[in-house]
């Protein structure tokens, strides 16, 4: 997308903390060098005549300029101690993360969606461990929590409710109240196709002719069939046609008309063809063409859409459908009963979580229409403020409407959403719903997802109060702004006080905050921002409704920057892009709404419920592994460098290296490189099923338990201890003659001995930190130690024409000819690891981490057997079949709650266009959209 905002480059919080650690190491390096440098300046003296410090001595050792000596030694020491900086750490981490994301996340069968053939996709490998520390999830609603599959569910025509279905929300509500609803058996002629899930014999197959108000029914169906911007595609028969619509609601409505016998099958730029059944008399089918004179498009300020059409017999009608509030304002006088009952029905549908639309029509006289049309054409051809003028003109004709009825569309929750949310909240993650929907439906969805329940104390900050409406009617923008701001301030203050009171009481209710977009605009003002943040952080769940994409992003960064918590945004549409980019981790649902969200996201999953696996399994493991890798790297480099540092003290601070150059350079590259990568890939504390069974384990990541400064400090302490053991044990034990030959060791013998001990110990220490040890661990650890021995055997055994390695010529063979070597090799690693071992034992015994408790509970239960077994069953399956078989064996979740909401068609594209996030699409520009879609689909097929 060319018009997207700058794509932020995201780095994980852990990595940023790692930078601090590296900085601290640089500080340590500097300190060590400074100590050495100053001491070298003090040490150097002509009295050490054997150092040849005559008049011609180079500056580095010239005792007559001690300052220069110190300065130059500083540089020498920096190169000498540079091993303290784990340069290969970043490379190793990148490698680990890359494999984690491409091999583990992308190929996890638990996150593979069979129906849409979509695996999870990690679009960046930067943020794997960030997934293990998420504390706030910001979720879009439509397409994320819900399926964005709209089904025509109920309707009300002429004051009569049709449709016998019961929504999940109604069932849930009834169960909560203890009423058992009887299961309504579907009648034989119940139709269920995409977009239509309606069961009422009174309207089907022409039966509507016998209803109290058949004319109203007729207008209702015609309105559905004519007033839309849908494009039919495919064959012109009811079974084969498919509708391409700007929003799934529209398609559902047209599909409904089709099922009621008003089959819209062809559209030309000026006409709509409808095949009408049972109009004249039962069973008669006729093709009728309606001339479309004007289309007054949908947008979110108008919240309605109208079509002016001319019947074949010359009748001019304006059909209008829209939100209840705007339609009711524009109804003509009279017919009060119908209005009242319809409003009741609307409320009834709304509380059932259905998305509602009101339908109305108006007969127009030719004169009046012509008169109006001139204005319309004028407005349409105006160059400035065209949108605004069109709105004004539309206002002129959309009045004195006659109410027909209302529709109710069901928007189903995605599979497993409620249980996923329940699991996530047990994991200590707080979920905020940010949606463009109106408040009632947003609250409904929140109920359906068990984000809000009746035991919670709800704080509602809404702009839809009488006081605000009254001010708005007066129309003074400045006054409105001031008034809303004041009321928002007052609300926030009041609620914050209340919230703090509840917090002080021990068993106070949980809190929930509901705020709408207009109020949010003021609450996000820098003065009120702190208060809003304070209040919302005290709430268990927060619902923001009627928010624009920009506000979604603002709320996300409010928590991200204001509270310094790790945030995750999940959404599926273009309107979620800014929120996805603003959060630490952005997740795109690869679903129906196109690819914008996925393109902007860091991870893409097919279903909301896969978030459980992504966070609780992959995220947690990644976090655990990266923490181990980082701390271990820190440890091994620090230990190694400190031995060098202790040696400096005994060389007159000259910067003599303890280890041969090659030992030093290969230490990080070969002798200790591979095992830590293996740990970064394979370490598991508890199995994947237990991770999901005990979501509480996730809290360790939120608290950052494994990469606290305290943890780093403990590692540093043990590095310190170990380096002392390495240096002093090896040197003190080598100070006398060796074997029975009485010969003495030199510098390189001692250093090779010390290096051997370091390599062995550091590799064994790695095994001690593993939670699960695969054969790869053994291979890599043994391989690393073996690599060292092979290297030193070759390196010290072969004399080349180059000068350097003669230092260590034959050293290892000399060493290995002594008993000293073997005794020291047994003693030093064990003495060095003893401290760590005691610490680990005590820690596990007296201050266990949560995961360690789980480990011990399930110590004797072999896990993961079921999955391995199922694989053994398949004997002669192709890999593909095996894969789908394996997939089919995965446990499926049954959805428990379902929730619904109303979302204005085109609403999202409206905000998106305001935000400049993606190219605005005219709602009626269906042809273009259709061609884009089919193009996308063919591209997918390839």
């Amino acid at each position: 997308m060319m018009n997207a905002m700058n794509v932020p480059s995201k780095r994980s919080t852990l990595e940023r903390k790692l930078d601090k650690l590296i900085l601290a190491l640089f500080g340590g390096l500097f300190l060590m060098c400074l100590i050495g440098a100053i001491a070298s300046g003090v040490f150097i003296n002509r009295k050490y005549y054997y150092l040849g410090l005559g008049a011609s001595v180079e500056n580095q050792f010239n005792p007559s300029n001690r300052f220069l000596v110190a300065t130059l030694t500083m540089f020498t020491l920096i190169t000498l101690y540079s091993t303290i900086i784990p340069i290969s750490l970043y490379v190793s981490i990148e490698m680990i993360k890359f494999i984690q994301s491409t091999q583990f996340i992308n190929k996890d069968l638990h996150m593979y969606h069979v129906e849409s053939n979509t695996p999870a996709l990690a679009r960046t490998s930067n943020l794997n461990e960030e997934l293990g520390q998420v504390e706030y999830i910001f979720s879009d609603k439509t397409g994320t929590l819900t399926r964005n599959l709209m089904e025509f569910f109920k309707c009300s025509i002429g004051g009569e409710v049709y449709g016998t279905g019961i929504t999940e929300i109604e069932k849930g509500g009834a169960e909560r109240r203890g009423i058992k609803l009887e299961e309504v058996h579907k009648s034989s002629n119940a139709v269920h196709e995409k977009g239509f899930n309606f069961d009422d014999a009174r309207l089907m197959l022409g039966a509507w002719r016998n209803e109290p108000d058949p004319d109203a029914c007729k207008e209702f169906f015609r309105c559905l069939a004519i007033c839309h911007t849908v494009l039919p595609e495919g064959d012109e028969s009811p079974e084969k046609v498919t509708y391409q619509a700007a929003s799934p609601d529209e398609a559902a409505l047209v599909t409904a008309a089709k099922n009621f016998g008003f089959f819209f099958y062809r559209r030309t730029p000026t006409t709509i063809y409808v095949r009408e059944s049972h109009v004249e008399k039962m069973g008669k089918v006729q093709d009728v063409s309606y001339e479309i004179l004007n289309v007054l498009e949908f947008n979110s300020t108008r919240k309605r859409q109208s079509v002016v059409c001319r019947y074949p017999d010359g009748r001019l009608v304006l059909y209008c459908k829209g939100a209840d509030s705007v339609i009711f304002e524009r109804l003509g006088d009279g017919n009060g009963d119908l209005k009242k009952t319809t409003r009741e029905h609307l409320e009834q549908f709304g509380s059932a979580g259905l998305r509602t639309l009101c339908l109305a029509y108006r007969d127009l006289s030719t004169d009046m229409y012509e008169h109006w049309n001139e204005k319309f054409i004028q407005a349409k051809s105006s160059l400035r403020d065209r949108e605004k003028k069109l709105d004004e003109v539309a206002e002129l004709i959309e009045k004195d409407l006659v109410l027909i009825g209302c529709t109710a569309i069901e928007d189903k929750l995605q599979e497993g959403v409620p249980s996923c949310i329940e699991t996530l909240s047990r994991a200590g993650i707080k979920i905020w719903v940010l949606t463009g929907d109106k408040m009632e439906t947003a609250i409904n969805i929140a109920y359906a997802c068990s984000l809000i329940n009746n035991d919670m104390k709800q704080f509602i900050i809404s702009s839809e109060t009488d006081a605000i409406r009254e001010v708005e009617d007066r129309g003074d923008q400045v006054e409105i702004a001031r008034f809303i701001k004041d009321s928002v301030t007052a609300d926030l203050k009041k609620f914050l006080e209340e919230a703090q009171q509840y917090l002080h009481t021990l068993s106070g209710p949980k809190l929930a905050l509901v705020i709408d977009g207009k109020c949010l605009m003021y609450a996000l003002d820098p003065n009120l921002r702190g208060m809003l943040l304070n209040l919302s952080l005290n709430c268990t769940s927060v619902v923001c409704c009627r928010v624009s994409p920009l506000q979604k992003a603002q709320v996300t960064s409010l928590v991200k920057k204001g509270a310094r918590k790790i945030t995750l945004s999940i959404g599926d549409g273009a309107n979620d892009v800014s929120m996805i980019q603003a959060a630490h981790v952005g997740i795109g649902i690869s679903g129906l709404e196109g690819m914008q969200a996925v393109m902007a996201s860091d991870f893409a999953i097919a279903q909301f419920r896969f978030l459980t696996d992504l966070l609780l399994v992959h995220g947690r493991w990644s976090y655990l592994r990266i923490c181990k890798v980082v701390t271990y790297f820190f440890y091994k480099n620090l230990t190694f460098t400190l031995t060098q540092f202790w040696f400096t003290f005994q060389t007159g601070f000259s910067g003599q290296r303890f280890y041969d150059d090659w030992f030093q350079s290969l230490y990080n590259v070969i002798f200790t490189a591979l095992p830590v990568i293996i740990v970064g890939l394979f370490d598991k504390d508890v199995s994947e099923s237990l991770s999901k069974k005990y979501p509480e384990l996730y809290k360790e990541g939120i608290r950052d338990s494994f990469f606290k400064w305290r943890v780093v400090g403990i590692w540093a302490f043990f590095s310190f201890y170990q380096s002392l053991v390495f240096y002093y044990f090896v040197t003190s034990s080598s100070s006398s003659g060796q074997n029975s030959s009485g010969k003495m060791f030199g510098l390189w013998d001692v250093s090779t001995m010390a290096f051997t001990c370091v390599v062995v110990t550091v590799n064994l220490r790695l095994l001690m930190l593993c939670n699960s040890i695969t054969r790869w661990h053994y291979i890599s650890v043994a391989g690393s130690i073996l690599a060292w021995f092979i290297f030193i055997f070759l390196y010290s055994g072969v004399m080349t024409p180059y000068d350097r390695q003669e230092n260590v010529f034959f050293v290892i063979y000399v060493l290995m000819s002594t008993f000293y070597f073997y005794l020291t090799l047994l003693l030093v690693p064990i003495a060095a690891l003893l401290g760590d071992f005691i610490f680990q034992g005590v820690q596990r015994w007296f201050f266990p981490y949560d995961y360690q408790i789980i480990q011990e509970i399930y110590r004797h239960e072999p896990d993961q057997s079921s999955r391995s077994e199922l694989l053994d069953i398949r004997n002669d399956l192709t890999p593909d079949e095996a894969r789908s078989y394996a997939i089919s064996q995965l446990p499926r979740e049954k959805s428990k709650h379902t929730g619904f909401a109303f979302d204005s068609p085109g609403y999202e594209s409206f905000f998106a266009s305001q935000q400049g996030v993606y190219a605005p699409q005219k709602a009626w520009d269906v042809a273009r959209r259709a061609s884009m879609r089919s193009g996308a689909r063919t591209a997918q097929k390839k």
Binding site: S732, T774, A831, L871
Partner: protein
């Protein structure tokens, strides 16, 4: 360490017959689904205690054996640097040692308290001598030591590099500062033979010092640092030099001087006639003479034995503490 402390799941999976065409997809499947067979060590108190007991059980005997070996070694250390300066030079030792006209002979008496069994190793020990100083360590040319004048690149030897335009053989500060005190031992007015052969490691003698390289211009310069070498003997046979040039790790070090190949009885008094040539006075270094027998492990060094016993007994102690806690407060 405590690797197999957990479940047998690895075995369970490995043991089941695998009925796939090849192992490859299965291994890959286990890899991508993160289901590799693994054992899960759980560091329970039982395992901690057992590990500690095991370490203790191994370490304490090893420690006693090592300590015993070290204790059996008889070692006599005599410091002679201060005593070998005549009264009149006590206030200006450096002047004494630098004045080559003064004879440097000195006599010390060693009383042997315990029977010393041959071979008895004679070491000299220097303290506060930084053989591991960076400038010192690199001031040598290994190629020249091996090839002599055939190898001309001796820049690493600065400042003891050239003499009259010819490279010094052997060049460098290390060789230049060769230790040159000598020791003669007399017991009951009978000189004891010191074997000064085979005191360097064989690899050094055979591969690092040339058989054809003669120190023809060694210590001919204006400033003489230490010992001189017999220009008729090739470097590979100059074992003093070879020993000296295996630079020590610490500023306090011993080097092998020779072997006395006869037993010394207890209460024998040994007269050491030494020539106190080497200058450690300018930097306040000590010089010591060490006579030591050896065991299978080496010279007298209690460190290994004590460390083993200490680690072993602290393991046992810890395991007892843990056991007590475990009994009192079982999980």
């Amino acid at each position: 360490m405590d690797a197999d402390g957990g479940s047998a799941s690895a075995v369970g999976i490995e043991g089941r017959p695998v009925s796939l065409h090849s192992g490859q997809p299965r291994a890959l499947y286990q890899f991508t689904q993160q289901n590799l067979p693994a054992c899960k060590p759980v560091l329970t108190p039982g395992w901690v205690i057992a590990t500690f007991l095991l370490i203790g059980a191994i370490f304490i005997p090893v420690g006693f054996v090592s300590l015993h070996a070290s204790q059996n070694v008889v070692e006599i250390v005599v410091r002679y640097d201060a005593e070998c300066i005549p009264e009149e030079y006590q206030s200006n030792k450096v002047a004494y040692i630098r004045d080559s006209s003064i004879p440097k002979n000195c006599t010390r008496y060693l009383k042997v308290h315990k029977h010393m069994k041959a071979p008895i190793y004679v070491y000299y020990q220097l303290d506060n001598f930084y053989q591991n100083h960076r400038r010192y360590v690199k001031s040598r040319s290994d190629q020249q030591l091996l090839h002599g004048l055939k190898y001309n690149e001796t820049s690493s030897c600065k400042p003891e590099q050239l003499n009259n335009g010819l490279p010094i053989v052997p060049c460098g500060l290390i060789a230049w500062s060769l230790f040159n005190d000598t020791f003669n031992f007399v017991r009951r007015s009978e000189e004891m033979k010191i074997n000064r052969k085979n005191i360097a490691w064989k690899s050094d003698r055979d591969h690092k010092f040339g058989k054809e390289v003669y120190p023809f211009n060694f210590q001919n310069g204006t400033l003489i640092g230490g010992g001189k070498l017999d220009p008729r003997i090739p470097l590979s046979d100059q074992e003093d030099l070879i020993v000296w040039m295996r630079t020590a790790a610490l500023p306090s070090f011993r080097k092998l001087y020779g072997r006395i190949e006869e037993d010394i009885e207890a209460d024998d008094v040994i007269v050491v006639h030494l020539s106190n040539n080497y200058n450690t006075y300018s930097f306040g270094g000590k010089k010591k003479l060490v006579l030591s027998t050896s065991s299978w492990l080496g010279g007298k060094n209690n460190f290994l034995g004590i460390a083993y016993i200490f680690v072993g007994s602290s393991c046992i102690l810890t395991s007892f503490v843990f056991m007590l806690l475990h009994v009192k407060n079982p999980r």
